[in-house]
Symmetry: C2
Subunit: 218 residues, 2 copies
C-alpha cells in the first residue's frame, strides 16, 4: 500500500488511523502549493484533485479520509476504530458524519473562503462574508457538541473512535486558522486535553511536523 498525503487535516486523520492499526504503507508527501495535485499524474489517482489518496495492494486508488479509514478498518479490524458490532459501527459513523458535515466543513470553508485561505486553494475566490457565516455555523455546532461531551471522555461513550480523530483534526485546524475554542466550552477542552495525550496522536503530531517541513508549509 502507498499513501499520498500532505500536511492537511484529512491526511492527518489517515496517518493516525494507520498508527493505531500498526500499518506502515509507503508514504509520498505531496507539496500542494507546487500545483502537483492538479496535474495529470495526481488526477489519475483522484479526479477531484485532493489528498490523501491510498493506493491499495490491488492497485485501486481510494480518496476521502474517512473512506480510507473504513477500508483500513475492514482490512485490519484490530484495534477497532469504528466498531465491532452493527450498532457500534452505526454509532461511530453517525457521530463522524455529524461532526464532518456540521463542524469540519464549516471550519474548512471558514478558512478556505478567507483572503489568505483562498490563495492556497485555487480556483476558490475569496468570500470573506461567507467565511464569517461558516465560522459562525461552526461555533453554533461546537456549542451544541460541547454540551454533548460534558460527562464523557470520548465522542462515542467509553471508546476512542474515528469520530474523535475527525473532530480532533479539525479542532486543531481551527485553532491554527484563527478559529480558537471558546473558553466556555469546558466539555470540548477536557476532551481535547485527553485526546492529545493518546500515544498515536502524540506520535502523529511529531510525524506531522516532519511532513509539514517536507511539504514546505513551515
Amino acid at each position: 500500500m502507498k499513501l499520498y498525503c500532505s500536511s492537511d487535516p484529512h491526511s492527518w486523520i489517515v496517518r493516525v488511523c494507520l498508527m493505531e492499526k500498526k500499518l506502515a504503507p509507503d508514504l509520498e508527501v505531496i507539496v500542494t502549493s507546487s500545483g502537483e495535485t492538479r496535474r495529470a499524474a495526481h488526477l489519475a489517482r483522484n479526479p477531484f484533485g485532493q489528498l490523501p489518496v491510498l493506493e491499495t495492494d490491488g492497485g485501486f486508488f481510494i480518496s476521502e479520509s474517512t473512506v480510507i479509514c473504513e477500508y483500513l478498518e475492514e482490512l485490519c479490524p484490530d484495534p477497532p476504530l469504528i466498531g465491532q458490532t452493527r450498532a457500534e459501527r452505526a454509532e461511530c459513523r453517525m457521530w463522524m458524519r455529524r461532526i464532518d458535515l456540521n463542524i469540519c466543513v464549516p471550519i474548512d470553508h471558514g478558512f478556505r473562503l478567507t483572503r489568505h485561505g483562498s490563495l492556497l486553494f485555487p480556483p476558490i475566490e475569496p468570500a470573506p462574508d461567507a467565511a464569517e457565516t461558516m465560522r459562525d455555523l461552526a461555533r453554533t455546532n461546537l456549542t451544541w457538541l460541547d454540551q454533548q461531551l460534558r460527562g464523557r471522555e470520548t465522542v462515542c461513550p467509553d471508546r476512542f473512535t474515528l469520530a474523535d480523530l475527525v473532530l480532533l483534526s479539525f479542532v486543531e485546524h481551527g485553532i491554527t486558522t484563527g478559529q480558537p475554542l471558546d473558553p466556555r466550552w469546558s466539555g470540548i477542552e477536557r476532551w481535547l486535553i485527553r485526546s492529545r495525550q493518546r500515544p498515536s496522536v502524540r506520535e502523529a503530531i511529531g510525524a506531522l511536523a516532519e511532513t509539514a517541513q517536507l511539504s514546505g508549509t513551515v
Copy 2:
C-alpha cells in the same frame, strides 16, 4: 424497526433504500414546521434534532441518512447498494462522500441561508451572500461531476449505488429550490433521466408526494 421521517431530501434517500431492499418499517411522518424536531421527545432520538431517524429492533436510534443506509446494507445485503467487496464498498463510499460534501452540502446551505430557507430552519439567520457563495460552489462541483459522468450511466461505473441516490436526492432538491441544472451539463442530464426511471425511485416519488401532504409542506 421504525423510521421517523419528513419530506426532506435525506429522508427520501432512506425511503428509496428501504424500497430497494424490500424493507417496510413503521413510518412516522413528522411535520418539521410544527417544531416537533426541537422538542424533548425527538431530541431523545437525535440530540441534533434532525430527520430521518431509524429506531432499530434493538431500540437503538440511528440518525444521518447515509449511516442509516450503511446499517440497512449490513442488515440486508441484497440487493447491494454500497458493495459486495472491500474495493466496491470503498468506491461507493468515496463517491458518496465527494457528492455529500461538495455538492449536497452547498446545495443545502444555498437554500437554508436564503431569506426564505432560513425561516424553515431556526435558529439559522439569513445570509444571502453566503447562500450565493454556496450555490456557486455547488455549480463548480457539478460542472466537474458532469465531466465525470459523461460516458457512464451510474456514479460508480456499471452499478446503481447509494452514491446515485444521494446525488439524485439533492439534484432534485436543488431544482425545487431555485438551483436548476445548467443546460450544458449533458452528462448529468442523461444520468438524471435514467435514474428517475428506476422502479424504486418512481415508487419513492409517489410516496414522497404523500409524505409532503401529510407533513403539510404542499
